[in-house]
Symmetry: C2
Subunit: 294 residues, 2 copies
Amino acid sequence: MTDRKGRQEAVVRVACIQMEPRVGDKAHNVERSLELIEEAADQGAKLVVLPELANSGYVFENREEAFALAEPVPSGETVRAWAAAAKRHDFYLTAGICERDGEALYNSAVLIGPEGHIGTFRKVHLWNEENLFFEPGNVGFPVFKTPLGRIAMIICYDGWFPESWRLCALQGADIVCVSTNWVPIPGQDPKREAMANILCMAAAHSNSIFVAAADRVGTERGQPFIGQSLIVSYTGWPIAGPAGRSGEEIIYADCNLADARRKRNWNEYNQVLRDRRSDVYDEMLGSSARPGWY
Amino acid sequence: MTDRKGRQEAVVRVACIQMEPRVGDKAHNVERSLELIEEAADQGAKLVVLPELANSGYVFENREEAFALAEPVPSGETVRAWAAAAKRHDFYLTAGICERDGEALYNSAVLIGPEGHIGTFRKVHLWNEENLFFEPGNVGFPVFKTPLGRIAMIICYDGWFPESWRLCALQGADIVCVSTNWVPIPGQDPKREAMANILCMAAAHSNSIFVAAADRVGTERGQPFIGQSLIVSYTGWPIAGPAGRSGEEIIYADCNLADARRKRNWNEYNQVLRDRRSDVYDEMLGSSARPGWY
């Protein structure tokens, strides 16, 4: 594909790896992730997304188990294994990891490139019993500049908060990689599409960004996960997936990440990020957050 | 329906009136709206939503036409006609109206109850050539307390900004009434569901609020509108509609507005509005809005 000046467009093949980690079996999980990464690389993927807590599993028995599975970033064994793969295949990878920093654990995602670890995101909004094990994220929503484009990461329940996506977009993200362990949630009909998919579509459209969400499958200690990984264009429409609800699967989409920036002007008057009325929001958020109606 | 204490639950029948105003023909538009209001009242509706600019039409020829169709609120003829209907049928009504305040025009929505005009919202985010005629809204996102529950209003393009819904929810809105004139937008496949519907669903779910969106149909001076009015439960799933793409139609849903407040606790740890990390957002919005990446 060439642009109007005849230049080669930078189309990035994005892969979301939907896999089934086993809680507590880190050796298996990392090995399995490397097999699937290999497969994605063979298909030409240049940006690969793995699920939340891909190396540890999700439903910890207790704090001891969570601590035993956690490791420092980037010096731990998992990041070193993933970094070797990124170097070998010359691609970028975002992946959920159980991170230990001193006595604190974080539900984190790492961005790794051919030259190694680039940066870390720590889940801001903790879901359910994660509150027993993890500290809430304390590094905001970092956006990393790479040769592919600007990449941000969020994790699972972060996607329920429009603020997460917005803060990524306002810092220039072209794509938000979502490492996730989506679970069935109250009020949802399991026969319908996942509300999590709807949230990704709305966020992509209203921020004009690509979204690549890699979910897990399987059941851990009675907790089922719902699969349905997907890749969404800046238009808001899925361009890969949703994947199935129960099997391991890799989905691929060729994304021209430049479109996220280039196609935000919807007409002569409107550009969806610049149209924000921060004058109105700032004043209201200062006061409206306080009454506590909710 | 009774609650756990055996009390009668306050279920509100909500109606969204999908109609086809004719630009410039205010007498016809108000008369037609009253016919449809009558029909909704006969069906037991207690909260009726009309589209954006329901009394004036949308595609103004020029400023003179827009001024000629505008009227003061609440003293103008349209609000008086709608207020008489609300009194007669003992219900509440939100409706889009072309408002004149001195030399300024606003794309507004009014909330009217059995005792008359309750309050006004002025569209915050102006779409396309609306910028030629209207001033941007200057009254924030007011939330009005009524015997039915707390009611907020937004208009069309406001729904593209997660901030609009959030500010309504943070002030306690149980339902957001959307008066809209949805148009086809770039990057959307006309054969698929409307992205506008997806935005309503995501907003309802991630704020735990009801959403009632009344769109218009027809084509004005070459500008088509897309219909597909819908009513969404606090779960995020439609409970009425989407309506058709081209015909006038009224959709109804019985909404227990108390559920918006009662069912926000998703588990022992999470309540979707209280889980907001305003510590993170406030600091980032202060700085991230500035680099101008977007």
